[in-house]
């Protein structure tokens, strides 16, 4: 156990986390050169493209140190986004230490700070690593200063490296061995293993990634999951090399995988504790929290004949994404679809992207909504996240909406505009504090719903890209909610209905009306587009009448060609929806409903 180290890498986006991981893996010879590819731990295309890690990945490396001993280094990759902070926490729980990676030219960034705090909360030993020292713009001295000032760490302990050129990689590995503590725990104690992630394997079912804290996991063992109380039989345990490598057991301190006849990732709860069913531990490990969806959106296939494909794709996605929830939904305008729950907007985007790329589906997503708590006059309480299920106004006593604690970190000069933005977004108790000279953290209690509608974009714009944003859920607070309907020539378009705060109703309705007016083609009669709350029209746009859609000439030679064109257009017409007598192209829904982050 003395020769085991478990660590993660904490970094701001772009500071080179994946490249450093790549280099550590290569240095330890865990993968043949010819098999190597960049960002080897990021298995999804989206992760590679956006340079973010969504699904954490883990690898065990064999490193022969300068002391001639061979160590097992468990590199636990962590997702890098606020939506996935519960996953970050679980990953951190599996480590004893962390490399805090800082870009030698960019310096300490807001996200670095936020993640450091998370790591410190888990009592991890920190090793600052200054990366990209090969860059002409590298300013190691300034970065060291920031590490001291902003992070409160001893900069003299920083390891310098360039993950790109490989310079200093061995120093990083030595620092891991020398400065991070080995795990503790008794291999003969009562079994406690933390499930920190799970992967879906089409042949084996769910592969649980675990950190064994106490005791030993062995094949043939009868195990119990302490939160869900489900029992399984261990079929196989092993180490997570780049490929799985079965072993005879996983003892306290080790990180590895367990295959135990679990069918789908959704069958188990990440964060649960595995114990021996015959000789259970008295308590589960601390820190278990159910991943609850907070953002909801309905997903419809562009073309109704893709509904079956969407159903299958969601089933498959769900196998590997425990946080995704979905149930059948239908819309008069868009047909059958699914109401889905997500951990946040990024999670929503990731699911959308994966459906698009991995399953080749074209989709329309309804405007994201939070889940409201609605009190009815008859004393009932309802949870509503779907505007179409919002009860009649007369039967509503009151409503509550989820609030978050938003934290924005930025250079001092943007405090004014960001406070203004928070005020616009109904932020309460907005305060700020200096993290360091010139750097400010602003916190504000604001409705989650306000963040779903172009908040990131506005924040980026008012801080010229320097602001970074994180949030945590706070509580539910009373709100004054209305349902805004969008009407086209008097007919409501159900897919465009939204629940919004009264103050925002008019602006939101107008925004939708304008976008619709821009995207619905003229159709030879006036089209009134209205936003309404109950019977009151609160916004209006009109599309004026005339249009021409007929070619000037059509004689003998034109007929075949023209028919082929029409046939092609007819295929496209499958993507038209009728609302009353108005043809609305699917593209209009996409344009209207797209979040401004796309």
């Amino acid at each position: 156990m003395d020769q085991v180290r478990s660590f993660c890498i904490i970094a701001h986006i772009d500071h080179g986390k994946s490249t450093l991981a790549d280099r550590l893996i290569q240095h330890c010879g865990a993968v043949e050169e010819r098999e190597f590819r960049d960002q080897i731990l990021d298995s999804m295309d989206i992760e590679r493209e956006r340079g973010i890690t969504i699904k954490s990945n883990t690898v065990t490396l064999d490193y022969t140190a300068r002391d001639a001993k061979t160590y097992k280094l468990n590199l636990i990759d962590t997702p890098g986004h606020v939506d996935f902070s519960h996953e970050v926490r679980r990953s951190l729980m599996s480590c004893e230490g962390a490399l805090l990676l800082v870009d030698a030219s960019q310096g300490v960034e807001a996200q670095t700070v936020a993640n450091l705090y998370l790591a410190l909360e888990h009592d991890l030993e920190m090793v600052p690593v200054i990366n990209k020292i090969d860059l002409p713009a590298a300013d190691v001295e300034r970065v060291k200063e920031e590490i001291e000032e902003d992070l409160g760490l001893d900069a003299n302990e920083s390891v310098l490296c360039s993950a790109k050129t490989g310079e200093g990689i061995e120093d990083v590995l030595e620092a891991i061995v020398e400065r991070l503590p080995p795990p503790t725990g008794d291999p003969d104690g009562p079994l406690q293993a933390l499930i920190f992630d799970a992967q879906y394997d089409p042949y084996r079912g769910a592969v649980l990634l675990v950190r064994v804290m106490e005791g030993t996991l062995r094949p043939g063992q009868s195990i119990q999951l302490m939160h869900t109380n489900k029992k399984y039989n261990v079929e196989e345990v092993g180490l997570l090399k780049i490929r799985k490598m079965a072993t005879e057991g996983l003892a306290a301190g080790m990180v590895g995988y367990v295959i135990a006849g679990v069918k789908a990732v959704s069958d188990i709860a990440i964060g649960d504790t595995i114990t021996d069913a015959e000789a259970p531990a008295p308590d589960p490990l601390p820190g278990y929290k159910e991943a609850k969806p907070v953002v909801f959106s309905s997903i419809y296939p562009m073309s109704t004949d893709e509904y079956q494909d969407l159903t299958k794709a969601l089933e498959k996605l769900k196998l590997n994404d425990a946080a995704l929830t979905y149930e059948k939904d239908s819309s008069a305008a868009l047909g059958f679809g699914f109401r889905c729950g997500f951990l946040g907007l990024l999670h929503l985007e990731v699911v959308q992207e994966r459906l698009r790329r991995e399953y080749d589906l074209s989709l329309i997503l309804s405007a994201p909504s939070v889940r409201y708590k609605v009190y009815l006059t008859d004393g009932q309480e309802l949870w509503v996240d779907n505007p179409s299920l919002y009860p009649d106004r007369g039967s509503i006593e009151g409503a509550e909406e989820p609030f978050i604690k938003a934290a924005v970190m930025m250079p001092e000069r943007y405090v004014g505009p960001v406070m203004e933005l928070c005020r616009e977004r109904r932020g309460e108790n907005t305060t700020f504090s200096y993290l360091a000279v010139g750097r400010v953290e602003l916190t504000s209690e604001m409705p989650l719903a306000e963040v779903l509608f172009d908040f990131y974009d506005r924040l980026k714009s008012v801080t010229q890209g320097y602001g970074s944003f994180d949030y945590e859920m706070l509580d539910y607070r009373p709100t004054d909610l209305v349902k805004v309907d969008i009407l086209v020539n008097g007919e409501p378009v159900d897919a465009l209905s939204q629940l919004v705060h009264t103050e925002k109703a008019r602006a939101r309705a107008l925004h939708y009306c304008e976008r619709l007016a821009d995207t619905i083609p003229k159709q030879q009669f006036k089209i009134a587009i209205q936003g309404a709350v109950g019977g009151d029209i609160i916004a209006r746009k009109t599309i004026n009448a005339y249009r021409k859609d007929v070619t000037a000439k059509c004689y003998g030679g034109d007929i075949t060609r023209k028919r082929k064109l029409l046939e092609k257009q007819k295929k496209g017409k499958k993507r038209m929806k009728m609302v009353g007598s108005v043809e609305i192209p699917q593209s209009a829904f996409v344009a209207v409903l797209k979040t401004d982050r796309d």
Binding site: K522, Q523, Q524, F525, N544, Y546, R547, K548, D549, V550, T551, A552, K553, C554, Y555, G556, G557, I559, T560, K562, R563, L566, E567, Q569, K570, K573, M578, S581, E583
Partner: protein, 410 residues
């Protein structure tokens, strides 16, 4: 099909035989690919050629007509289009018409139409055309504004056009038609109104008013593509379209098709109407299309390729298709909604076995309610606003055939 296919005529369709065998109702088209200059907006198969190629082409047309000795079609219209048919020598036109009568079943009373350019019109040429039996002339005026004519690359002047129209109108043709083009950049609706008024004042029997269209592969198309010329927007074009129909209706012309207007029903183009209701037609010459017995084929577009095939004794057919029942029905809608005659619902039912009101009653209702279609006995007719979006109307119907099922057509 291959060029050497000796018999482009398919087996007679038992269900359609009655309509085609005996009656003289088919159209005969001859494509004259020659122009003295090529207009920048034109996407027809045209070329500038000397006397040698022209006379080879005349021989070719006659040889091509002789390739169809067993065609079970009788023709009651002959249409010489182009290109610039009037640029042919009068004798060449006469020889072609004679030979067509010799090789094919052309009715003695068939309406013979000729497209003419103003610069080719003089009292002598006109009287020769009359002598050869041309009864319908279509004059390519395009505009009564010299700046427009320059922009359109036309070789005639406004004076030429007026003079030509006057000569034609007094020469005793059954029908004199004038072609105009609208939608030039930078011209006001008022400007277009004056063009129409000028044509009306000339007292022509028929007008064809075409929206200037930037076709790919034309000089004009390339100008638009590189931003040298801007096409008018949808709204402006719609305004001009409605202006055209309204003004000409007020002047007594019936806009019986999207771009065609006749002072009385007799002056409609009988030949062109065949294209719009699936009447059979045979096309001779490069790029010409034919539609017989539910089969459609088309000739090589380039004069050189067409000529080579014909000179080798082959049909100059480039390709063919046999549209499925669903495809023909889509064509019937697409073509039918272009004309105020609209769709003959009974005929559609007879030919394709589909009652449109039964299968697409909701679509019909919707367009009737919105004022784009009206039912008139057994016909479904577009209104003027419907005519303007004929393609949208055609696309809106769901006709659920399997693609293999074929319809029966003459």
């Amino acid at each position: 099909m291959t060029q050497s296919d000796p018999d482009p005529v398919p087996d007679p369709d038992p269900e359609s035989g009655t309509e085609t065998d005996s009656a003289f109702n088919a159209g005969l088209y001859v494509h004259v690919p020659f122009c003295t200059s090529v207009c920048p907006y034109c996407d027809f198969a045209v070329t500038i050629a000397g006397e040698e190629r022209r006379s080879a082409w005349v021989d070719g047309i006659i040889r091509e007509a002789a390739l169809y000795p067993d065609l079970s079609l009788g023709f009651d219209t002959v249409y010489l289009g182009g290109g610039t048919p009037s640029s042919l020598d009068a004798e060449q036109i006469g020889r072609i018409l004679d030979e067509l009568h010799r090789h094919l079943a052309v009715d003695q009373r068939a309406v013979c139409s000729l497209e003419v350019n103003p610069e080719d019109v003089d009292p002598r040429s006109v009287s020769t055309w009359r002598d050869f039996g041309i009864s319908y002339v279509s004059l390519g005026v395009q505009s009564f504004d010299d700046r427009d004519l320059a922009l359109l690359g036309r070789r005639h002047s406004v004076d030429d056009a007026r003079q030509a129209a006057e000569i034609l109108c007094s020469a005793g043709f059954d029908t004199v038609s004038v072609d105009l083009i609208y939608g030039l950049e930078g011209r006001s609706p008022e400007h277009w109104r004056r063009q129409l008024e000028t044509a009306v004042a000339l007292g022509v029997d028929h007008l064809s008013c075409y929206q200037l269209t930037a076709h790919e592969g034309t000089l004009f198309g390339r100008r638009v593509a590189r931003g040298a010329v801007t096409e008018l927007g949808e709204g402006e074009l719609a305004e001009l379209f409605f202006l055209t129909h309204e003004l000409l209706a007020d002047a007594g012309y019936d806009g019986y098709e999207v771009s065609n207007f006749a002072s009385t029903a007799e002056h409609r183009s009988d030949h062109n109407q065949k294209y719009w209701d699936h009447t059979p037609y045979l096309g001779l010459g490069p790029s010409a299309h034919s539609f017989v017995g539910g089969r459609r084929w088309w000739n090589h577009r380039k004069l050189r390729h067409w000529q080579a095939a014909i000179d080798a004794g082959d049909a100059a057919v480039e390709d063919e298709e046999r549209p499925s029942g669903a495809q023909l029905a889509l064509e019937a809608l697409m073509l039918g909604f272009r004309t105020t005659a609209g769709i003959d619902l009974e005929r559609l039912h007879e030919r394709f076995g589909v009652g449109l009101l039964g299968t697409n009653g909701d679509v019909v209702d919707r367009w009737v309610t919105s004022g784009h279609l009206k039912t008139d006995g057994a016909r479904l007719r577009p209104t003027l606003t419907g005519l303007a979006i004929a393609d949208t109307l055609a696309r809106s119907f769901e006709i659920g055939w399997t693609p293999t099922e074929s319809g029966s057509l003459p």
